[in-house]
């Protein structure tokens, strides 16, 4: 929660509709995302009940487990899901480019689920299938462990800020809009979308209220509505279980189950595509493509690793791997936030409120100023003064950058707080060529409207860790590489 989003929430309450907290779209949307709406059976750790999945709004595939407690049926579900997911992964690996001596696929899988719990489901399903054996006791079809590794890969990738490989729709929408309800209530996709894009003639709060009725809007999963479980699902499952295999009774029971589950999934399926449309209406921010390239590169590497027969992901990260991962996660988050701010004034507004950035007007320019440089030669260091009404809580000698002038750094020389304005004096360096007199346009002009921020990508120092094989003995020495044990495969899944 930031001051901007809280203020936008307050405005949304009064206006009865959601307010923007971003002017551009910061997530990548594939032309053919794989939309996945899973349902799980209540009370079980990872018992898939049904799912709707597909890359086209009018062609969802419905998968269901008529008796979720039956282990073989669960694997059957996993196998059918694997066929779809692996097919999709394969379709992303058809076209390739060479970038920095590396083969990078032009596409990458993008899995879209309704909410954070959906991401959790993907992670658990990945965990419960990736160690399965295809031979020996309880064999599973070969695609099942492979599905597990891809689902695990996607869910691990989704922890990185800025990755669009696996997105929870509620989070993607919540990044761009603030509603007039609490964050807790925003976890309901139907309610959230009701605020952002209510049906004609309905206000946001009314649409959100309607969304809380499970009869109108069944929950977006993976948990189902308890009343649905008790009144419809349980009798239908019992009817299926009690009927003899291949009997007409069993066919009828399966039809009933299918109808019931389709009814629970269809509304969310439609919501997902409506949400995609709503997001597509926003123009993509410039760096979305760069970040998607990172996703593509990561996908290509993992694809290669799987093709080369790499091992499934470990149950838990080792200490060294965890330290590196944490470092990377933090760095990605900082970079992501800073980059978004540079591209989106509404995101920058958060930094302006905390005082890490400021916006104002150039009121004084000393463009030809030269000072003695390190090697005795004079260097061009123009001074400018920016007048701002923002809080601008910055220390002297802090380095700042303007989103419109990357490559040029300003150093804060003086801050003069006057009753109704603050005058910030900056010394500029870089981005002015080697000429004695800076070429026109390379130094901000008088009366120019400009923003400077202390949080820009280059301002974050990279924390270096020693390579894993040189981990010092104080930290346990080089870690042993993970090898799956028989224990990993032998646990029962029932």
């Amino acid at each position: 929660m930031t001051a901007i989003s809280s203020y936008a929430r307050a405005r949304a309450v009064v206006a009865g509709r959601a307010f923007s907290i971003a002017t551009r779209r910061h997530v990548h949307l594939s032309d053919t995302p794989l939309v996945f709406v899973p349902l799980a059976m209540a009370g079980e750790a990872s018992a898939p009940l049904a799912a709707m999945i597909g890359t086209q709004p009018d062609k969802p595939t419905l998968l269901l487990v008529p008796q979720p407690r039956n282990r073989d049926l669960r694997f059957g579900f996993a196998a059918s899901l694997a066929d779809i997911v692996l097919d999709y992964v394969h379709s992303c690996s058809q076209r390739v480019e060479i970038s920095a001596n590396e083969q990078v696929f032009l596409d990458a899988p993008q899995l879209l689920v309704p909410n954070a719990a959906g991401v959790g489901f993907v992670k658990l399903l990945g965990r419960s299938t990736r160690y399965r054996r295809t031979t020996g006791p309880y064999p599973v079809p070969p695609q099942v462990p492979l599905l597990g590794r891809w689902l695990t890969h996607l869910s691990e990738r989704s922890e990185f800020a800025g990755s669009s490989a696996l997105l929870a729709m509620t989070s993607a929408l919540g990044m761009h809009w603030a509603t007039g309800q609490s964050a807790l209530e925003d976890a309901n996709l139907a309610a959230l979308l009701g605020w952002i894009d209510p049906p004609d003639g309905v206000t946001g709060p009314d649409a959100a209220l309607a969304a809380e009725d499970p009869l109108i809007w069944p929950p977006a999963g993976p948990s189902t509505d308890p009343a649905f479980d008790n009144e419809i699902l349980a009798p239908a499952i019992r009817a299926w279980t009690d009927a003899a295999t291949d009997s007409p009774k069993r066919h009828r029971a399966l039809n009933t189950l299918e109808r019931a589950l389709r009814g629970q999934l269809e509304p969310t399926w439609q919501l997902m595509w409506r949400a995609i449309d709503v997001l597509r209406r926003l123009p993509a921010a410039d760096s979305v493509d760069t970040r998607w390239t990172t996703d593509r590169r990561d996908f290509s590497r993992y694809h290669q690793y799987v093709t080369d027969g790499g091992l499934p992901q470990a149950r838990r990260d080792g200490a060294v791997a965890a330290a590196r991962k944490l470092r990377n996660l933090e760095r990605e988050q900082d970079l992501y936030d800073a980059t978004r701010a540079l591209e989106d004034p509404l995101v920058m507004a958060n930094y302006r409120i905390t005082g890490a950035a400021f916006q104002g007007t150039v009121v004084q320019v000393d463009r030809d100023r030269r000072v003695p440089g390190g090697k005795g030669r004079a260097v061009t260091r123009p001074l400018i003064v920016v007048s701002t009404t923002d809080p601008a809580h910055l220390a002297i000698s802090t380095k700042v950058q303007a989103p419109t002038r990357s490559g040029q750094t300003g150093t804060i020389v003086q801050i003069d707080r006057q009753p109704d304005t603050t005058l910030v004096t900056l010394e500029l360096s870089g981005g002015m060529t080697a000429a004695k007199v800076p070429p026109p346009g390379t130094v901000p002009e008088m009366d120019e409207h400009i923003t400077y921020t202390s949080a820009y990508p280059e301002s974050f120092r990279k924390v270096e860790l020693p390579p894993p094989d040189q981990t010092p003995w104080t930290h346990g020495g080089p870690p042993k590489p993970y090898t799956p044990t028989n224990d990993d495969a032998q646990e029962v899944w029932e």
Binding site: M1, T2, A3, I4, S5, S6, Y7, A8, R9, A10, R11, V13, V14, S20, T23, M41, A42, G43, E44, A45, S46, L124, R127, S128, G180, Q181, S182, A183, L184, E185, E212, P214, T224, D225, P226, A227, D229, N230, L233, A234, R315, R316, P345, L346, M348, A349, R352, I353, Q359, T389, D390, P391, E491, V492, W493, E494
Partner: protein
């Protein structure tokens, strides 16, 4: 609690009998301790579920029968074959010795399941264990706890007696522990519920006889194999005791209510609505998951900053209502002295938002 207060609480509740608490509802008392409405309704034993329904804001709690079945079958499995699986587990976690295993079923007494009889028998057996040590496991003992002057019967899944004279509460839950990790919210709920049992047991046997470490037994990974984990519930115990003491001091809250206030479920919905509005609530979004009255309170709190979440309220300078916050932000409302800081912050936010949204 004095008689006058009890009298007023009875009057408030009306003709219906007092709603019985259980471990879950006692545990729920610790959520949102600042809410007077909840404290009064709970102390009076009002059936909040029915009340919420009567005023047109039914709670949306419900438990799927699949979850219930799973919970029961896991408990049955763990206790099957004379606690075979549990013994192995607790031997490792608590260091029980082989010779110490003996079991007392307290779920019924000679076919009699009346609460008083069961409680008396549980009390005898549990206090007896300290002297004769003949039993290790006490299956479903019936404990009591005084909650706001009412006796509440509580039934832990299992109490294990350790050879060093200390009792441990064992709670069997069917949520999975996967790769040594479990859902934080579920563990927290189990911990506070176990703390209720520890407290009840301590009131019966003495503080030093009952360990603050409870044992949580859950399925491991995706299997039905149980795994035991010790949880320290000292923090939960403090919160719980504080809340129970507060309930006992309900007099001050009740005194502040208008005389003759009645929430008798036979009253008209309108009257109930009005009567409820006389009792101050402190709504926060997480009430929805915890309290039957949440939707009524949410409707009432519409336009309050707290309804948007605690952190949003704070970001808006801690101002009570949304209208006030926006008034201070656009300068149409004059800030009082203690609002000056919040007002200047809100004005800056509004200016910056406007300039950024226009760009």
């Amino acid at each position: 609690m004095d008689n006058i207060t009890q009298e007023r609480l009875n009057q408030l509740r009306g003709a219906a009998g007092a709603k019985r608490h259980n471990a879950r509802t006692v545990a729920a008392l610790t959520g949102n301790p600042g809410c007077v409405r909840r404290a009064v309704l709970d102390a009076a034993g009002v059936d909040k579920d029915k009340l919420a329904r009567r005023v047109g804001f039914p709670a949306k709690f419900g438990q799927s029968q699949f979850a219930i079945t799973r919970g029961n079958s896991f408990e049955a499995q763990v206790k099957a074959n004379a606690f075979a699986e549990l013994i192995t587990l607790l031997r490792d976690t608590l260091g029980l010795q082989i010779g110490e295993v003996g079991q007392t079923d307290l779920e019924q007494v000679g076919g009699n399941t009346s609460q008083e009889i069961r409680h008396t028998r549980s009390r005898q057996k549990l206090t007896g264990a300290m002297t004769n040590g003949e039993s290790t496991f006490f299956d479903h003992p019936l404990l009591t706890l005084d909650v706001g002057g009412n006796t509440v019967y509580l039934e832990p899944d299992l109490v294990a007696f350790h050879h060093e004279g200390v009792f441990h509460v064992v709670e069997i839950k069917s949520f999975a522990v996967i790769d040594d990790q479990a859902d934080g919210a579920k563990v927290a709920a189990a911990a506070i519920q176990s703390a209720v049992y520890v407290l009840a047991l301590r009131r019966l046997l003495g503080d030093d006889k009952v360990s603050h470490e409870v044992v949580l037994v859950c399925p491991k990974d995706f299997s039905n194999k149980p795994v035991a984990t010790k949880i320290d519930v000292r923090k939960q115990l403090i919160v719980l005791e504080h809340q129970l003491t507060r309930l006992a001091r309900i007099e001050t809250l009740v005194d502040a209510l208008p005389p003759g206030l009645s929430l008798d479920l036979d009253n008209s919905a309108d009257d109930l609505f009005k009567a409820l509005s006389e009792i101050e609530a402190r709504y926060a979004p997480d009430c929805i998951a915890k309290c039957e009255m949440a939707f009524f309170c949410r409707n009432e709190a519409r336009g309050c900053t707290a309804a948007l979440g605690i952190s949003v309220r704070e970001e808006l300078g801690g101002v009570e209502t949304v209208a006030e916050a926006l008034g201070l932000a656009d300068g149409t409302l004059v800030a009082s002295d203690d609002q000056a800081e919040a007002a200047s912050m809100l004005r800056a936010t509004a200016d910056i938002y406007a300039s950024a949204a226009a760009a």
